[in-house]
């Protein structure tokens, strides 16, 4: 065992050799994150608005859907979309499936974020909108969302980071993102230490950078709110 442990020393030349492949895989990871976040942002807003619908059917269904999505693991959702949907004739590429799964899963969390933002808008704003005879759509678009969204942007940023860190799950359905690429390199060279360490470092660097951005954004929005 002692001999084996000594053998595992970090080899910088292997690290450097594998870096280009990992960096290009990072592009796939980033792509999945950005598209997944866009899908989650749009769908989450749909949930949030549906949950405030005056029609009881719509609001309960949306509430149920959100609860269901939040209470089941992302990995199972990914598998379900990838392995079960084709059985009913819906075949999607691994990448597309991954984006849909991430978007769907995180839309449930984002709908809660939106809800907090919407609940932060005083009741008087809804009443003023109604007194001015604005329709439902205009009330949301002109009055409620412009006030509900800015305060929740930092929270959304945190979910963006969380989603970024969940992208390795897409390796389970053969998307060649960072982790999957590291595994492939590892299998080819019988060396996992360097590629996996690099993957960890890349996630660390980007997550830290993004957190700093979110924190900066919080301060910036705080000032804008104080206006």
């Amino acid at each position: 065992m002692a001999y084996g442990a000594c053998n595992v020393t970090f080899d910088w030349s292997i690290a450097l050799e594998t870096l280009p492949a990992l960096l290009s895989a990072l592009r796939i990871t980033a792509f999945a994150t950005v598209l997944g976040m866009l899908a989650a942002a749009v769908l989450g807003l749909v949930w949030a608005i549906a949950r405030r619908s005056p029609k009881r059917m719509v609001s309960s269904l949306a509430g149920l859907a959100v609860e269901f999505i939040r209470s089941t693991p992302l990995l199972i959702q990914i598998y379900f979309l990838f392995y079960v949907l084709p059985e009913i004739g819906i075949v999607m590429s691994p990448m597309f499936t991954g984006v849909i799964a991430l978007g769907l899963h995180y839309s449930a969390y984002l709908s809660e974020v939106y809800r907090a933002g919407v609940e932060g808008v005083p009741k008087g704003q809804w009443e003023a909108a109604r007194a001015l005879n604005l329709g439902r759509l205009e009330t949301w678009r002109l009055v409620i969302l412009p006030q509900a969204l800015p305060p929740v942007v930092p929270a959304m940023g945190n979910y963006l980071i969380a989603m970024f860190k969940d992208t390795p799950m897409l390796s389970a359905i053969t998307v060649l993102e960072l982790l999957q690429t590291a595994k492939v390199i590892g299998a080819e060279r019988f060396r996992y230490l360097e590629p996996l360490t690099l993957v960890g470092l890349l996630f660390l660097l980007l997550s830290l950078g993004a957190s700093l951005l979110v924190r900066w954004g919080e301060g910036y929005l705080g000032k804008a709110q104080a206006r």
Binding site: G124, R130, A131, L132, N133, L134, G135, E138, L142, Q147
Partner: protein, 259 residues
Amino acid sequence: MKSEQQMVSMRGLEKSYGGVHVLQGIDLDVAPGEKLSVIGPSGSGKSTLLRILMTLEQPTKGFIEIEGEPLWDMRLNGRAIPADSKHLRRMRSKVGMVFQHFNLFPHMTVLRNVTSAPIHVLRISRDEAEARAHELLDKVGLGAKVDAYPSQLSGGQKQRVAIARALAMYPKIMLFDEVTSALDPELVGEVLGVLRELAHRTDMTMILVTHEIRFAREISDRVVFIDHGQIVEQGPPERIFAEPTETRTREFLKSILEA
């Protein structure tokens, strides 16, 4: 068709929230162009009356007509059925409201506060909406504040913007819900000044819920005293304020004048 069409007509209006009867059978007519003041202790149901007229709340029982048309019901094949949103929006276009706490849109400039609804609801052009907004804001003495945000204004200025915003929708009936109650005393006068102008210079129907007794006396055609969700007494302001017949009215006026 009656020869004198009432602007607002309420019969047997009731509102209760979980067993609490806020309004208990209100019968009230308001004539076109009439300036009506509603007075009464807090919690007497005055504001609820306005909120039902503005369709912010639905009555539990009773009937309201605006210009002879039912507000909360509509007729289908001769039967009354609950109003759909289209009917409510059409009826709502006749009514405007100014709130105690202004409820201006904080993310919009003063100009956009006044132009948004005309542009998006009345579908008039931006140029026209802005021209009209400038005119209205000039009228309430805030022509210089068009580019300010509500947070940069005093309470009195905010309330004057709110009045301009409601006027920009050309309502036939304006509801004023304790519009000076949230203001510092030295700012009350500027808002009352605007209301006075409106009362004297326009033929809009105005219903004011107010604690400003002297002001109500000055501008109202009629004063209604409400207590415990019922109309206790009503009549011309000179009579109500000088020689109220009901004990409850007398006691209320005494308490408010002593305060």
